[in-house]
């Protein structure tokens, strides 16, 4: 086809008329795409894979052991104390919730804005969202003194005649995080249905076939299915969109509703949302750089995707940088002595090392993405994405620890250092996260097959490759299934 040749031609010859860079390289056919993704699922389990999974499961096991120890012995196994009631627990909670945000943003907002480049990465980003929220839930459930009473945080009719306290931001958290998890799960699963059906048709093993058949919910690829599917997907995207903003805003309320200097600031909700997207993209980047190498998905996850994500990281990184600067400015400008002092202490006090780690990682390091060459350098973006992950973790730690350890009365001040238990739990959440991601990468289509096919040049026979609408979209899917049949 002419357009395909055209695309290839552009890639080879930069002097041709400027056309958008293709989103999929190598000009595969629809069948190639199905085969490429399907082969990941069907291939034999490699020893390397099993070893990696073993390592991550060991990490998860360590975390589980530490959690068991915490629950049986008490929160006293952690380093928390009287001025510092929250430490790594809530830091990790906010960190993981933040990680999840990239998935939702890519799935929902980019979908609504018709950013087609999202198709290569949305599946794994959404999966990451779910896994990150699972980690966040683990942290928030285990951080209480009596975790076996977690259900008291749910509003349910009970013999105690006790209703939850709707004035508490922690209560809002319960709703926000649960909603987030539920919607993200549904959104991810609904998006998976056509691909699961494709796999059902593709795989040869009987058990696998049955499992995929079960989860594809009898998908036939009929127009009616596609029609309903598209509407459901659109609605879920619509529901998810406000969640991108609301969940982390609500999480930030945990701090802003408090009266402590350093917490009680109005800048937190937008600042937290920007930070969440920032950290989420960094985590997606870290994982995709690996996945694209290991699973050989360079064809689908191209440098253009990476470039776009790096641009988003640069933008959100500067937003958080602006927030850091604005916090400092307002602390000075407000004339509030408590506020002023806490920010001086943040930058120069006992936890100054954490603050400057955060600034270096989050504000300074992404500046390198002003250069296109750097945006497209895999080693650079890998390192920077890890820096950003570290920096964003420290951001939450700085907010929590610096505010709590020195607040109003100097006589009550203290210092907080984590114990091996908290560190193990954090490692454990990474273990859980990575294990789930590895299982996902092996058994679930890591690339949204149907959506990728829809943006392939051949999917829009009536138009140029860079435009499309829902109707054509549906057509394309139909034709994919048709080919198979």
């Amino acid at each position: 086809m002419a357009s395909q040749e055209h695309a290839l031609h552009t890639a080879m010859d930069p002097n041709e008329e400027p056309v958008r860079e293709p989103l999929i390289l190598g000009n595969p056919t629809f069948r190639d795409v199905t085969a490429r993704i399907g082969s990941i699922v069907e291939g034999k389990l490699q020893p390397k894979y099993l070893m990696t999974l073993g390592l991550t499961l060991t990490m998860a096991g360590l975390g589980m052991f530490a959690l068991f120890y915490t629950i049986t012995t008490g929160i006293g196994t952690w380093g928390l104390n009287n001025p510092v009631g929250w430490g790594w627990d809530i830091t990790n909670f906010v960190f993981w919730i933040g990680i999840g945000h990239a998935g939702t943003l890519i799935s929902a907002i980019l979908f609504l804005f018709r950013q087609k480049w999202r198709t290569a990465i949305n599946r794994s980003a959404e999966a990451m969202t779910l896994f990150a929220v699972i980690c966040a839930l683990t942290m928030v459930l285990s951080h209480t003194g009596r975790p076996w009473l977690f259900y008291w945080l749910l509003p349910y009719p009970n013999q105690m005649n006790m209703w939850v306290n709707f004035r508490s931001p922690l209560m809002w958290d319960v709703f926000a995080v649960n909603t987030y998890f539920t919607v993200s799960l549904l959104f991810w699963f609904v998006g998976l249905i056509p691909d699961l059906a494709t796999l059902r048709n593709y795989v040869k093993g009987t058990i696998a076939k049955k499992v995929y058949a079960f989860f594809s919910l009898g998908w036939t690829g009929s127009t009616r299915h596609w029609h309903t599917y598209e509407i459901a997907y659109m609605i879920l995207a619509g529901i998810s969109t406000p969640l991108v903003l609301s969940v982390h805003s609500v999480v930030s309320f945990d701090f802003t509703v408090g009266i402590l200097p350093g917490w009680h600031t109005t800048i937190f909700p937008p600042y937290f949302v920007a930070g969440a997207i920032f950290s989420g993209f960094a985590m997606v980047m870290t994982l995709l750089v690996i996945a694209r190498e290991v699973l050989d998905l360079k064809q689908f996850i191209t440098l253009k995707h990476m470039d776009n994500m790096n641009k988003i990281m640069l933008a959100t990184g500067m937003m958080v940088g602006y927030a850091y600067a604005m916090e400092m400015f307002i602390a000075w400008y407000s004339g509030n002595a408590w506020e002023r002092w806490i920010f001086i202490n943040r930058a120069m006090g006992d936890y100054a090392w954490a603050y400057w780690t955060m600034v270096t990682c989050n504000v300074v390091s992404p500046q390198i993405f002003w250069f296109k060459k750097m945006r497209r350098s895999i080693p650079v973006m890998f390192v920077i994405s890890i820096f950003v992950n570290i920096g964003m973790w420290f951001e939450r730690f700085t907010i929590i620890a610096t505010t709590l350890h020195h607040d109003f009365l100097p006589a009550s001040w203290g210092y907080y250092t984590p114990t091996w238990v908290e560190i193990s739990i954090f490692i454990g959440t990474f273990g859980v996260f990575l294990s789930l991601f590895l299982l996902f990468a092996r058994f679930v289509p890591v690339i949204a097959i149907a959506e990728v096919k829809a943006i392939m040049p051949g999917a829009q026979p009536k138009h140029h490759h860079d435009h499309g609408n829902g109707h054509d979209h549906a057509h394309a899917h139909a034709s994919v299934e048709g080919q198979k049949a």
């Binding site: 929160i75 008291w152 319960v174 009266i259 402590l260 100097p410 210092y415």
Partner: protein, 1024 residues
């Protein structure tokens, strides 16, 4: 176990229909019980219970009541009736507390006590307000001694060492008696080494024994020997004792290395008197002036208006200058010339201040100072007109048995060395721990040694026989207080050790075995005391009131001061250069209750350190020794915990460094009372024993440092409950604690308190910002508290009162290091001024019961909520432990049970719990409740009396009840006539962090210092 309950109430005729349960029977009379046919049927159960060595609470109750039945049936024990205090219920009501009067007489100081008993066990020690010395207040040690009663590590059975284990009581007593008989036969001595005490009956008992048994004699050997004051009094006033001045009569007090408000046996008495003079108002703007000249930074120094840092070598010259300025008798002429220019200047300033208050000025000197130094003080006080009947120093107000000790002890050492002593019986003393090397090496030369002590302590370990001693709450006795008030020590429980009677009963039993005629007609020490008291007053009335006021005829009004005799008194030459001071601990005093976890975990009021003692020195000294690089506060804080090796002529200790601002340079202070090597797991290995560094016959005082050097041992972390943070955070002084001068009070200058919002009207105290929510209207009671920072001395009595009342767990050093101490009320200590010479301000901090409480809205499960009476309530069983409330509390007064702190109580320790207060499990938050259990109790009482309101004064919180300074007031702020409402009108009132609009219900009255000038120019700059 046979815990024979032979002390019971006297309501034999009150044949009431009280409960039928076993525990209730405890309260019925023996007469009643003896006739009770139920008794016999119960013996089988008792046998089972007796074989059970672990005593549960229920089991304990059962055994107590059953034992009583046994006693009744067998008629082996005499009946000893207890009498409840007049204010208490006179009949036993199940579930209701009964107060009994008693007297707390540890060492030779007596304080009136009121002991609350619940179901047969004492659960709280309070002050008896009918006792003139402590007027209803209680000291730290007095209250904490309750925990030692139930200490599972106490010695329970008599033991024989050198190849022996447990033995029978009769055998142990027989062995001691045999040793006395042997001594008698051999023409040698048998000496009882007893602790100082205030009991006339005990003294009489020992005198009776000495009279009947010629070989038997007693030597009084307290843990802390310091004879300077007694020697001077003996020579110049003819009183061989220490005299207690009355600070409530003093307008100017100069303390020369004396610590009357801190490490002093009489600190409770002094604090009650001193604080009366420290709470001025604009209506009555007068207060006393406290000038302190000292080497260490004592609690008295922390409360001073003016403080002079003196190197120990300058103490006597300082006194000499004072003496020359005021008395001019020449007592100090030989040391005058040693006074440095600064000492001269300071002493002259102090002298000028003293002279302004002729007749109401006093100089106090530490009893560890030389006899000459104390003599100089007598001369000064005499010249100031402070000595005489009814004056500040009334020579009849003596501490009983506080005469010169050194001579008798030296004689005993000589006798021991000359092999003239066959048997030593240590009664309530632990010289192996406290005494100097000469005594310790002499005492093991006695062929037979026995101990009658509470614990298998250091001394017991070098004895052949030990017999359990009794706790004061287990034994009858009596005591005379410094003002002559007589009280009976009424036990609340039978001794908790294998049926062995009190220490005095043991002595009587020994006496009986030596001489059968001795005490033949006296069945027990109880009968002995009763018989002695028949001439003093009506027994029952004494027990009802707890105190017999001194009769006026005893007063010797003619006090003549023999100044010339002072010339013969010896001075003590203290060289300049590095000097070691051994001082009593502010928490443990001499370490008698060294195994008491409440005392060990109580943070020292000055250093805020728990669980250990330290080598305290000034920043400059630490720098000089190369322990710190600079005098930056951070560098100083980092140096704390480095190990310093300190040697005196008597020994060497490796102690953690503690940089104490305000100490004199070239001085190292070491607290006594720590570092036990025996006598309980709690006591052992906590800190180091300062006695090692102490001088011979001079346990407290100055020792030339032989060597002080940094040790190469690794630095340790010190469990301090408060870090080195000052009010000035580099951004101005934090307006969290406020201070005024007397000038401000006199001139109505209260602007620095900053209690006005910018838009406040003329009467706009506590104007509240606009709110969209309508304020709750408190129609009934509304509880509030007022704390007067000016009278608070920081003695920490409130902390122990709260710990006892509210079942607050001890968490241990490791947890304190992590910052998890559980105290509901803490004393925030802030330094002002330079590191070298700071002033201190203490701010008791507890839940402020904010009306607009930030903790309440953040709890997701509504476990903390507001009561209709203005209390911020904590519902433990609803709490899931998110700790959000703790984070959001601006006062950080919430305490989280990070671990199960209440799980490892071994019997009978759990008996100490207050049954009215829940014992919290792990994972829940807790905090001050304003003693809500007492509020409810008072409300029920009011309801029963047909009232719908509690009257003012009917409810007191535990901290208020104990506070020796009377600095805490609690009550209904809705009642305009209540004491707390009136106190809230005080112009000095401010609320901590009021600008946060959390609306705390605790009002603080700003501290007032009796100094020149105004606090206005420099304070409050940061406030808006």
């Amino acid at each position: 176990m046979s815990l024979l309950m032979d002390v019971i109430t006297n309501h034999s005729n009150d044949n009431s229909t009280q409960g039928k349960s076993m525990s209730d029977r405890t309260w019925q009379s023996l007469d009643h019980l003896a006739g009770d046919t139920l008794v016999k049927g119960e013996f089988d159960g008792i046998k089972e219970a007796l074989t059970d060595s672990k005593v549960s609470r229920r089991g304990f109750m059962t055994i107590m009541s059953a034992s009583m039945a046994l006693t009744a049936a067998a008629c082996r024990r005499p009946i000893q009736h207890l009498v409840p205090s007049t204010k208490s219920h006179q009949t036993a009501i199940p579930g209701m507390p009964i107060d009994y009067t008693s007297v707390y007489t540890q060492r030779n100081v007596a304080y009136g006590a009121l002991v609350t008993s619940r179901e047969g066990r004492p659960v709280r020690v309070k002050g008896n307000d009918k006792h003139g010395v402590n007027i209803g207040r209680a000291s730290v040690e007095m209250q904490a001694s309750l925990l030692s009663l139930y200490d599972p590590e106490r010695l329970r059975r008599p033991r024989v060492r050198r190849g022996g284990g447990s033995t029978s009581y009769d055998n142990a007593v027989g062995k001691i008696a045999a040793a006395i008989t042997d001594a008698q036969a051999a023409g040698k001595k048998a000496v009882a080494v007893i602790n100082e005490h205030a009991s006339p009956s005990y003294a009489q008992l020992l005198a009776d024994m000495s009279a009947a048994i010629p070989a038997f004699s007693t030597v009084m050997m307290p843990a802390i020997i310091a004879d300077g004051a007694a020697a001077a009094n003996r020579a110049m006033l003819g009183v061989d004792a220490e005299i207690a001045p009355d600070l409530s009569k003093a307008k100017v007090v100069v303390c020369v290395d004396a610590d009357p408000l801190g490490a002093d046996k009489l600190s409770l008495y002094h604090t009650t008197r001193f604080s009366q003079m420290r709470s001025p108002s604009s209506g009555a703007p007068s207060m006393s002036t406290l000038i302190v000249a000292e080497a260490q930074y004592s609690l008295t120094g922390a409360n001073s208006d003016v403080r002079h840092r003196l190197h120990p070598s300058q103490v006597e010259p300082y006194l000499a200058v004072l003496e020359a300025e005021i008395a001019g008798s020449g007592l100090g002429s030989d040391v005058m010339e040693q006074a440095s220019a600064e000492t001269q200047k300071n002493a002259k300033a102090a002298a000028a201040a003293l002279k302004t208050a002729q007749g109401s000025a006093v100089v106090m000197t530490g009893r560890h100072l030389s006899a000459r130094a104390n003599g100089m003080a007598i001369a000064i006080n005499n010249a100031l007109g402070a000595i005489g009947a009814g004056k500040i120093i009334d020579p009849t107000h003596v501490i009983p048995n506080s005469g010169v000790r050194g001579e008798a002890i030296a004689q005993l050492v000589a006798d021991l060395e000359a092999d003239r002593v066959h048997a030593l019986i240590f009664v309530d003393t632990n010289p192996e721990y406290t005494a100097d090397r000469a005594f310790r090496s002499a005492m093991i030369k006695a062929p037979v040694r026995a101990a009658v002590n509470l614990y298998a302590d250091e001394t017991a370990l070098v004895c052949d026989i030990d017999i359990p001693g009794s706790h004061w709450l287990e034994s009858w006795g009596d005591a005379v207080a410094i003002d002559g008030t007589m009280s009976v020590q009424q036990p609340l429980i039978a001794p908790l050790n294998d049926g062995i009677g009190s220490t005095q009963d043991t002595l009587m039993n020994i006496g009986r075995k030596v001489d059968a005629a001795l005490f033949a007609d006296t069945a027990s020490y109880y009968d002995y005391v009763v018989a002695r008291w028949s001439s003093i007053g009506d027994w029952r009335t004494v027990l009802l009131d707890g105190a017999v006021a001194p009769t006026a005829t005893e007063t010797n009004s003619s006090a003549s001061v023999n100044t010339s005799a002072g010339m013969a008194l010896k001075g003590a030459k203290v060289e300049s250069g590095m000097t070691v001071m051994t001082v009593p601990s502010l928490t443990l005093y001499d370490g008698y209750y060294g195994n008491n976890a409440w005392l060990l975990e109580l943070s020292d009021p000055v250093t805020k350190v728990t669980w250990e003692n330290l080598a305290m020195m000034s920043p400059a000294t630490a720098e000089k020794m190369g322990l710190v690089g600079s005098r930056e506060p951070k560098a100083l804080a980092r140096a704390n915990g480095k190990i310093v090796s300190v040697s005196t002529s008597t020994g060497t200790l490796d102690l953690p460094l503690w940089i104490q601002p305000g100490m004199a340079d070239d001085t190292i202070a070491v607290s006594l009372g720590f570092g036990h090597q025996a006598g309980g797991e709690v006591a052992m290995g906590k800190g180091e024993s300062g006695y090692v560094l102490a001088g011979a016959m001079q346990t407290i005082g100055y020792q030339k440092a032989k060597n002080v050097a940094p040790s190469d041992k690794p630095q340790v972390r010190i469990a301090s409950t408060q870090d080195h943070h000052t009010l000035d955070d580099g951004n101005g002084e934090r307006p969290v604690v406020k201070e005024l001068t007397i000038g401000d009070v006199a001139q109505n200058e209260y602007s620095t308190l900053g209690e006005h919002f910018p838009d406040a009207g003329k009467d706009g105290k506590y104007l509240q910002p606009l709110s969209i929510v309508q304020d709750y209207e408190y129609k009934g009671h509304r509880w509030g508290m007022v704390i007067d920072l000016s009278s608070c001395t920081g003695c920490s009595s409130c902390i122990i009162a709260c710990q006892n009342e509210n079942n607050i767990p001890v968490v241990g050093k490791k947890q304190v290091l992590t910052g998890r101490e559980m105290a509901w009320i803490r004393l925030d200590r802030y330094y002002r001024g330079s590191m070298e010479d700071p002033t201190t301000i203490v701010e008791p901090m507890l839940c402020q019961h904010c009306e607009n409480a930030p903790c309440e809205n953040v709890c997701p499960v509504a476990a903390t909520s507001h009561s209709p009476e203005g209390l911020n309530e904590m519902t433990y069983n609803r709490c899931v432990g998110t700790r959000y409330c703790l984070n959001n509390c601006p006062y950080k007064v919430r305490r989280f049970n990070f671990l199960a702190y209440n799980n490892d109580y071994s019997a009978p320790m759990e008996l100490v719990f207050n049954p009215d207060v829940t014992v919290r499990s792990r994972g829940v938050m807790e905090k001050c409740t304003f003693c809500v259990q007492r509020l409810h109790h008072a409300k029920w009482q009011a309801h029963d009396a047909g009232r719908d309101r509690v009257m003012d004064g009917e409810v007191v919180t535990a901290c208020q009840e104990a506070c020796p300074a009377g600095a805490i007031l609690f009550g209904d702020t809705n009642d305009p006539n209540s004491a707390v409402s009136k106190a809230r009108q005080n112009e000095r009132g401010f609320r901590v962090l009021s600008d946060l609009n959390v609306r705390p219900q605790v009002t603080y009255l700003a501290k007032v210092r009796n100094v020149e000038g105004s606090s206005a120019p420099h304070a409050g700059a940061e406030h808006h």
